[in-house]
Symmetry: C2
Subunit: 440 residues, 2 copies
């Protein structure tokens, strides 16, 4: 085991030597009683998994424990036996609730020693704000013997990097903006140099407007062939409301070959799934629609009732979207449909607010008012109330209008209010996407 | 150990006898390699935690493992040593990837036996659709000796309930709509009868428009007293963008006393935090604002640029919100501000689209056009681009207008585009809430 000189001093040095065994597998442990309530998920582990995957390290398990030293010690000891790298997040604060530092030191049988460098950094952090360091923060300067402290530019808790024989232990603070820069540093300077060229390459394909079974029936004969290929391509199918995802992965030490294999694989899936695939590298549907509008120099305007602004909120989630989103109307009341969109009063009365005629009039009205290339109209019953026998909750009508014509579809979505709204905005964006692809 | 007669037959019977040790702690293990990618979280465990908490069972750890028998066996064995109940979700399908059933049976040293009842149920599931059961599904009829199979009305995989000395093991399928009914059944018929009257009672207070340090400074002297109280009240503070949450919990066998203690605790926090508390039982800000509007019989109209429909999407997320949301305009282009809201062209030119004058004109314009009691105007720079030295990204101006007047505030939010948008909609809803509370 390498004995560090402690405390932030070695930030620039590479610690992985030739004889090190490569780090292949990792376990992530999140510490915090609040993560064991029904209200909170651990999201740090997703960011950590992403960064580790990039350098070919696979995550074999994730665990969440409360602020209980015994539970953390059991989780940590188990993880260290089974994986090359154990990442622990959270519990590095200064109070007695923060159990990570002493518990891990005890589990590794390493004494805690006060680091002058770390102590000085913490003092300075308070000093720049004109404050004296509270005595309790002195705890955070305790470092297990031989560990390297990782400076924290966004908080007082230093991270810790510990080499234990062939294995590695990384302790990171819980708040993402403190955790993230340390993770980047450790990946770049400690883990990547020892990882050889082995990397995990991924492509994420996304499909809108199709059932999972439909996608699987078409895709399964294709991807089952890849399991025997060299390099082997792993595939998983995941269903989200209004969206199916195909995740392809290759573990390889040859970047060009891996990327070429994935590109061929994407091509094979395109042959069977065609335009149903809206993204072949993880893009969101709103990014794809925005990119198609931008490429044509066109603008869009939306009018919706039941989605209540969700579709425009998604489209404008994309930075720079003000270039192609002109306006959107959320017209819950019929009066707003008449006043802003010019939908004729008697059309609403005769056909009902949820009808193909009114959806078309909304799309045409918002487009003409905004003088843009594409207009979208969405009207429906998100539920749970408001449905009738002829138009049950989940009935949603979507229209798009352009200079040369219009298109309208009636959907019957299943699920609760949030799911109906999400599927509606997904279907509307997908109708716009398919129409844009037809325009050359 | 109780030896069941197998397979779904005992659904109605209560299995907990007088001499059973009460179940106090649980561990949850989610099985599935897709849950170890950067793309997916385990969400089942939140629902399971909520149900177990209701009957006084605390979750001591959560773990996620891939489809690897060795990893699952290690996680399961560790969990069974440390907790009274181990819940395993996922991996109960019929394929070789589905490792839960054989792995748990082996870890408990129980032989797998085919259950005629379960087999018949699976056959019937296929038969009603006119299909023969594929031979591979026969796997799902294998039940560890002594276990009780739990019928699955929404899929082929039965759940399994296993009593191991004083401990309990529950295997549930991964898909929520299959998992949920079995969880309800087990809580009602197997766990609740043995749990005595001990329950976990919670209240979640939410605070808008204040920093975590501000809330903690005021609240800490209050809740630190409760730790010595009987019953003891536990408290945790959680920060989300634009929102601070205080979670209070009491473990008690006396519901009236627990509820009264929590009510007193909420009252003490109200004394120091006052109207900053917008919810005292977990309600969302949009529900609270909707409730206040409904109570007064008033309606609202919104006009926004930088939040792109997020505020109206949140308000209309609440079922029945069409009663009080009249309309919302997302006016990205200046022309839309002029045409829909009547904002004077020269005001935008002279003051800039992001200015207090324009925000006010938007609020007034949308309110008057809609002829409703309250109008909201939001204009700002969500970023990352579009900022200037005087108005950097994150500058957001929010105005509300009513018959008797108007109110406007300029904010400087920090964070990325999504965070600025979320904080903006939070601040706008909170301004409306505070104003509504002043109107008697």
């Amino acid at each position: 085991m390498r004995h560090g000189t402690g405390a932030g001093r070695d930030r620039g040095r590479v610690h992985v030597t030739q004889e090190s065994r490569p780090i292949r597998t990792a376990a992530i442990i999140a510490v915090g009683s609040e993560l064991l309530t029904p209200f909170r998920s651990d999201t740090n582990s997703l960011a950590i998994t992403g960064r580790l995957n990039e350098i070919g390290i696979e995550v074999a398990s994730k665990q969440i424990v409360g602020d209980e030293p015994q539970d953390l010690a059991a989780a940590f000891t188990g993880a260290l036996q089974r994986t090359d790298l154990v990442v622990v997040t959270g519990g590095l604060g200064p109070t007695s609730d923060d159990v990570t530092r002493p518990t891990i030191a005890r589990a590794l049988d390493l004494p805690l020693e006060e680091s002058e460098d770390v102590l000085e950094r913490i003092r300075q952090r308070f000093a720049v704000r004109g404050l004296a360091m509270p005595e309790i923060n002195r705890n955070q300067a305790l470092v297990p013997r031989g560990a390297t402290a990782l400076a924290n530019d966004n908080g007082t808790a230093p991270g810790l990097w510990i080499e234990v024989g062939h294995r590695r232990v990384l302790l990171l603070p819980g708040p993402p903006r403190e955790m993230q820069p340390m993770l980047d540093l450790v990946v770049r300077e400690y883990l990547a140099p020892g990882s050889g060229n082995m990397r995990l390459y991924r492509r994420v394909l996304k499909i809108a407007g199709r059932a999972e079974s439909h996608v699987e029936t078409l895709a399964q004969p294709v991807y089952s062939r890849w399991l025997a290929a060299d390099p082997r391509i792993s595939t998983s199918i995941l269903a989200a409301p209004g969206q199916i995802e195909l995740h392809l992965g290759i573990r390889s030490d040859n970047p060009d070959q891996a990327r070429a294999s994935l590109e061929r694989a994407v091509g094979e899936l395109r042959e069977v799934l065609g335009l149903d695939i809206f993204a072949d590298d993880g893009q969101s549907l709103e990014e794809v629609v925005g990119g198609l509008l931008r490429a044509r120099g066109w603008r869009i305007a939306l009018a919706a009732s039941c989605t209540g602004g969700l579709t425009s909120a998604r489209l404008t989630d994309v930075p720079g979207s003000s270039d192609y989103v002109d306006r959107a109307a959320v017209t819950y009341s019929n009066r707003a449909k008449v006043e802003w969109l010019g939908v004729p009063d008697d059309l609403i009365r005769d056909r009902g607010a949820v009808s193909e005629e009114v959806a078309e009039a909304m799309a045409i009205g918002v487009r003409e008012g905004a003088r843009v290339e594409v207009g979208v109209g969405i009207t429906g019953i998100a539920g749970p109330g408001g449905g009738t026998e002829a138009k049950p909750a989940g009935t949603v009508v979507i229209a798009i209008a352009w200079a040369g014509g219009r298109r309208v579809r009636t959907f019957r979505f299943v699920g609760g209010r949030a799911q109906v709204r999400l599927q509606s905005s997904q279907a509307a964006l997908d109708m716009v996407r398919r129409w844009l692809l037809e325009q050359t």
